[in-house]
Amino acid sequence: MTDKNFNRRDFLKISALGVTAVAGLNMIRKAEASSAVEGAHQWAMVIDQSKCTGCGYCTLACRAHNDVNPDISWNQVIQVEKVNGKDVFIARPCMQCAKAPCVDVCMVGASYYRPDGIVMMDYDKCIGCRYCEAACPYGARAFNWEAFTGPNPAVPQWGEPEIERRGRGVVEKCSFCYQRIDRGLKLGLTPGEDADATPACVVACPVGARLFGDLKDPESIVSKILKERVSYQLRVDLGTSPRVYYLPAEPAGTGVQG
């Protein structure tokens, strides 16, 4: 036993080192306290519940353009209540939270913020631990429990795939059709106004219940309508700051929900 060499002073020295290291680590963490670095655009979506008929075209268009497994919905349409005898629906894409719990918890940084506010998935990094699924309050994430092989039933009726199909074992989710936005911007188009630069679900909606645009641009359709009408976001109490806004079904906007 050589414990004689190891006295109280050594112990204190080592402990002090350890404590300093942990404190240092925590400071790094605070500095990096994750939230988006704001870029020139801040994309947002507005979904008008007074118009939505629950047809589900948005989900199908999404499946086709993003080549999503028919068992998975990046954009789910749910019937919520009846107002004046009319069914009210809620469509739920990814909320693209400004303070996204999924980005916080992802151990490999496969979920990350784009400067334009989109919460992106790096499918090449994801190891499939599914911690993000546990963290997301909106159930917006789906795991590929098995490989999606064979033809996509939503293609070609609802569109052509624009991004690579995800393999087995990774978590996937809605990305506001970033590929359409990026391509559109390169072509000089305006997302939200030009169909080719706008998310597929917005384009597919037959009643115009979905609007898309840049919150940084006061003239964009979403900035204007959010100024005019009463809107709400889902579970704002959690502090996630979602970028999907809902216009309530009640026309006067009296029943502010959420």
Partner: protein, 420 residues
């Protein structure tokens, strides 16, 4: 090894060979199940997007918990200076090493892309609790490997073949106090961050509280020490060659009894504080535990059999000194902590809190592991038991002979002193 290969041809059925044979069968079944998981993917499990973590996470959390005997006993021996207990710290260190490798096996199956396990080490999101867990696992596993070097040096074959190497491996023992400091920090961080993995999720109100981290440490220390003492006792009972100093084991068992008092106290306040006012998701989660489908696990598995019964058995002098009762109590402690991990994981997932506007509505989901999950899980457990069995037999993992000798020497000295 020479002795082994000579023995092999005239194979004799002994309790030992039956035991190893049985464990091998379970391991083989587990390996087959694991291969099916790698081949077919996680679709062969009963996990869903609502309950993405299940049986394997429980095994992972539990094997890390029973590994906690290593850091706590090493800290006791090398930092507090309870040198008498160094023999049992050795046993705990070996169990810790095996526990951590068990956790790695179950995690490797549980992630969707096992081929990308190394991403966890290369791509860092320091904000993630699972990053902290990964770092602690990796670093502490390294510490455990170093701490176990002197144990592996006991392998006779290695001693004969590489005498210099084994001498060096034994020399690592000199650094034991330093390793104990590092191990204490890493292991405590790890145990608590496993609790915090759940505790930081605001979307799951039942988990969203700081208590799980604290409870995970306390319960892990109880379970880790309990398994260490149990393994020491059962080894000494099954083999005449293994000598243990029962007074040491008895003291640790007594200490476990007091840890259980603390654990019960914190668990009580943790649960009781959740009963005040209605909070969507949390109140339902608690009632899942206290009166719902998990209530048997909670009241009987966790509280009655897991804490109260062993607490009484270990604090009562008479029952503690009866080996059978002490061993029963120690096993109950381990079982109770496994039940706690299972309940903690599941109670949070079974509650589905709606994100729709208005009054949050609650729905419930279900999870029962699939056959493949059970087979693979049992395979991991059987591997752990087999590794500890082999360690006890070939690496002298349980060996108190030097403690007993020292005591004899000091006894003799005292006797001489008195005689003089």
């Amino acid at each position: 090894m020479k002795a082994l290969s000579l023995k092999l041809p005239k194979f004799k059925i002994t309790p030992w060979s039956l035991w190893i044979g049985f464990l091998s069968l379970v391991i083989i079944a587990g390996v087959c199940a694991g291969l099916i998981v790698f081949w077919k993917g996680l679709v062969v499990t009963n996990l869903t997007d609502l309950v993405p973590w299940g049986l394997w996470i429980t095994i992972d959390l539990s094997s890390i918990a029973v590994a906690a005997g290593a850091f706590s006993l090493c800290a006791g021996v090398y930092l507090i200076g309870l040198k008498r207990y160094h023999a049992i710290a050795r046993t705990a260190t070996f169990i810790g090493l095996i526990g951590y490798t068990m956790a790695l096996f179950s995690l490797l199956m549980d992630i969707g892309r096992p081929d990308r396990f190394w991403h966890a080490l290369v791509y860092w999101n320091k904000h993630s609790l699972l990053w902290e867990v990964t770092m602690c696992v990796t670093l502490y596993l390294t510490v455990l490997l170093f701490e176990s070097m002197p144990i592996f040096a006991n392998l006779e074959w290695l001693q004969k073949k590489f005498p210099k190497l084994t001498a060096k491996m034994k020399g690592v023992h000199h650094y034991a106090p330093y390793l104990a400091v590092v191990g204490l920090g890493l292991s405590m961080l790890h145990q608590s961050s496993l609790g915090a993995v759940y505790g930081v999720l605001k979307a799951r109100p039942l988990w969203y509280r700081p208590d799980i981290s604290v409870l995970f440490i306390i319960s892990a220390v109880a379970a880790g020490m309990a398994l260490t003492v149990f393994v020491s006792m059962i080894s000494a009972r099954l083999s005449n060659r293994i000598k243990v100093d029962d007074s040491i084991l008895e003291r640790v068992a007594y200490f476990i009894g007091w840890i259980l008092v603390g654990y019960l106290y914190f668990r009580f306040w943790d649960a009781l504080s959740m009963t005040y006012t209605y909070e969507p998701g949390r109140t339902e989660g608690l009632s899942l535990l206290t009166s719902g489908p998990l209530s048997f696990n909670f009241w009987v598995g966790e509280i009655l059999l897991g804490i109260v019964t062993p607490m009484i058995l270990l604090l009562n002098n008479r029952t503690r000194n009866l080996p059978v009762w002490r061993m029963v109590a120690l096993l109950l402690v381990v079982g109770g902590v496994v039940a706690y991990r299972w309940d903690t994981n599941l109670s949070g997932f079974l509650i589905v809190l709606s994100y729709l506007p208005g009054q949050p509505t609650i729905s419930y989901t279900k999870y029962v592991p699939s056959l493949i999950e059970f087979l693979a899980g049992f395979g991991v457990i059987a591997y752990g038991i087999m590794a500890v069995s082999l360690g006890v037999r070939y690496l002298k993992v349980v060996d108190h002979s030097d403690v007993l000798e020292e005591e004899e020497v000091s006894h003799n000295k005292e006797a001489k002193a008195i005689a003089v």
